[in-house]
C-alpha cells in the first residue's frame, strides 16, 4: 500500500443556498480544491463523490457523471458513493484506497447535498432513509427521535444531563462563529438551547444539526509526489470503516456506536497512534448526543464522561482536545453527503495552520469521524502533517 496525502481542499459556504443547485455547488467546491492543490485538472485521474439522497431531494440520480461533468473533468471515471450521512467519509476512503492501491496517483473527492429544494417534512422523510424504513420509519421514527432514544439511555445509564448536551451546541456555535463557511456564525447560550422548541424529547431544535446546502472537495495524491503540488501535504495515516445493524433497536447497546469503536480501533492501529496523540477531531455531531458518543467511542473520554467533559470545557478550542473546530454539523451545517469531506478539509486547514481565529495551536495529528444513519456505518480517518 502506498502512502496517500491530501494536497488540496475547498468548500462552499454552507447554508441555505437558494441560488445554487448540485452542479453549481460541487463546481464551486471542486474548483477551490483544484486551485488550492495547484492543479490545472489534467493531472487528475478519477473522481469520487459522496451524496446521500439526491434522488429524493432533487430527483437527480447518476451523480457520479454529474460531478465529473460539473467540474469539467470529463471523460474521467467518476463514482458516486452512498452511505447515508457517511457518504462523504466513505467516498474519501474509496478515493484513498484507489491511490493507496497504486491504481491512481491523483484523484479528487467531492461531497454534496442540496436539501432546501424540498419542504422540511419531505427532507425529514428523505433522511429517514438512512435508518430502517421498514421497521423504524414505519413506526413513525424520525432521525431526531432515534438519537433521542440514544440520549435517553445515555442519560439513564450515565447521568448525562440536558445541560451537558446543550454545552455541545454552545461550544460548536462558538467555533462556528470563527468559520466564514459555517451556516450559523452566531453564539448561543445553554439557556437558549434548553428553552428551544422540543423536537423529540429530550432533544430540542438547538440540539439538532440543520438542513443545509453545500459541497466540499479534497484532492488526494500519492505521498511521494505530493510535495510537487504543495509544501504542506497532509498525510492520511489511518483509514477504517465498519458496519452495524441498520435498525437502532437491533443493537446490543444504545450508548455507544460499535461501528465507530471498531473503525476507530482499526484506524489507530494503522496510524500507530493512540487517542492521546490526537490534537483535534471533527466528529459527527448530527445531534448533540452524537458528539458525546463520538468523543467516548473515539477514546478521548471514558464511557459516560463525554457530557460532563464537554460542559467543563475540555473539548473547546485549544483545551484538552479541540472538537469540531469548524463548528461541527451543528453550526457549520450538515449537507449530508458533503459532511465527511468537509471534515477532511477542516483538518487539512488546521494541520497546515491556516484556520485563522479557530486555529488549534501546534496541531499535528487530526481525526475525522463520520457516521451514517444511527450508527450503521462509521468511517474514521487520521491525518498528520507530513514532516
Amino acid at each position: 500500500m502506498r502512502k496517500v496525502s491530501i494536497i488540496g481542499a475547498g468548500m462552499t459556504k454552507f447554508g441555505e443556498r437558494w441560488d445554487k443547485g448540485i452542479p453549481e455547488l460541487i463546481a464551486e467546491a471542486g474548483v477551490r480544491a483544484l486551485v488550492d492543490a495547484n492543479l490545472s485538472g489534467e493531472e487528475i485521474q478519477a473522481v469520487y463523490g459522496g451524496t446521500m439522497a439526491a434522488g429524493r431531494l432533487v430527483g437527480q440520480e447518476h451523480i457520479g457523471a454529474l460531478l465529473a461533468d460539473a467540474m469539467g473533468l470529463n471523460p474521467l471515471p467518476s463514482v458516486r458513493v452512498e452511505a447515508a450521512c457517511a457518504s462523504g467519509g466513505v467516498a474519501l476512503r474509496q478515493a484513498y484506497l484507489s491511490v493507496a492501491s497504486g491504481m491512481y496517483d491523483i484523484v479528487v473527492v467531492g461531497g454534496v447535498e442540496k436539501m432546501t429544494d424540498v419542504s422540511t417534512g419531505d427532507a425529514t422523510i428523505a433522511l429517514a432513509g438512512a435508518g430502517d424504513i421498514e421497521w423504524e420509519f414505519f413506526s413513525g421514527a424520525t432521525f431526531p427521535a432515534l438519537y433521542a432514544l440514544i440520549a435517553r439511555r445515555h442519560m439513564t445509564e450515565f447521568g448525562t444531563t440536558e445541560e451537558q448536551l446543550a454545552a455541545v451546541a454552545v461550544k460548536n456555535h462558538e467555533n462556528g462563529s470563527h468559520n466564514e463557511f459555517a451556516q450559523f456564525q452566531n453564539k448561543i447560550t445553554i439557556d437558549q438551547v434548553l428553552n428551544s422548541k422540543p423536537i423529540a424529547d429530550p432533544l430540542k431544535i438547538l440540539d439538532c444539526s440543520p438542513i443545509t446546502d453545500g459541497a466540499a472537495a479534497v484532492v488526494l495524491a500519492s505521498s511521494d509526489i505530493a510535495k510537487k503540488y504543495t509544501d504542506t501535504p497532509i498525510e492520511i495515516i489511518g483509514s477504517a470503516q465498519a458496519s452495524d445493524t441498520l435498525a437502532l433497536h437491533d443493537r446490543e447497546s444504545l450508548t455507544s456506536l460499535k461501528a465507530a469503536r471498531v473503525a476507530a480501533e482499526n484506524a489507530y492501529k494503522q496510524a500507530k497512534v493512540t487517542p492521546k496523540d490526537i490534537n483535534l477531531a471533527e466528529v459527527h455531531d448530527c445531534f448533540t448526543i452524537a458528539e458525546v458518543l463520538a468523543i467516548e467511542d473515539l477514546g478521548f473520554f471514558p464511557k459516560g464522561k463525554g457530557g460532563i467533559a464537554t460542559l467543563e470545557g475540555e473539548t473547546a478550542l485549544n483545551s484538552k482536545i479541540s472538537i469540531n473546530t469548524s463548528g461541527g454539523l451543528k453550526a457549520c451545517g450538515h449537507p449530508v453527503g458533503a459532511t465527511g469531506v468537509k471534515q477532511a478539509a477542516e483538518i487539512t486547514w488546521q494541520l497546515r495552520g491556516e484556520a485563522g481565529k479557530r486555529q488549534v495551536d501546534n496541531a499535528t495529528i487530526g481525526l475525522t469521524h463520520n457516521i451514517g444513519g444511527s450508527g450503521a456505518t462509521a468511517v474514521v480517518h487520521i491525518m498528520k502533517r507530513a514532516d
Partner: protein
Amino acid sequence: MVEGIPSIWRKIPNRYRLEGNVCETCETAYFPPRVVCPKCRRKGKLVKKRFSGNGKIYSFTKVYTPPTGLELDAPYHLAIIELSEGPKILGQIVESDDKKVKIGAQVKMVFRKMKEDGNAGLIHYGYKFKVID
C-alpha cells in the same frame, strides 16, 4: 413516502400479528424474521415464531415534529421495547400518560392504523404499544 402495495402486503404477518422467527440452533429470537441467523450463519435453523406483544420499555422519546403524514398523531411517544421473548422492537406508545412512559414500564401490543396513503390510497395497519397499568 408511499410504500408500495407489495411491500405492505408481504409484511402483513409481521406487522399485524408480530410474526418473527427463532434460530433453533442458538435459540435466539428475531423480529422481524431474519433470513440468516447472524450468530450461527450456515449452521442456523430459522423457524417461524409469533411474539406475544408483551414487553417493557428500553428507551423512549416523545416526537413533536412528525414526518409528513403523521401530523394528526403528533405529539406521540416512540419507544424501543424489549419483547418478553428477547428481541427489541421500535414502536409507538399510545394512550399512556407521560408519567407512565418510562424505562422498564410494562407494555402490551395494540393494533392500530399506522398511516394512510391519502384519501384514496391504502391504509397501513400494524403494531403499537400501550403501557399496562
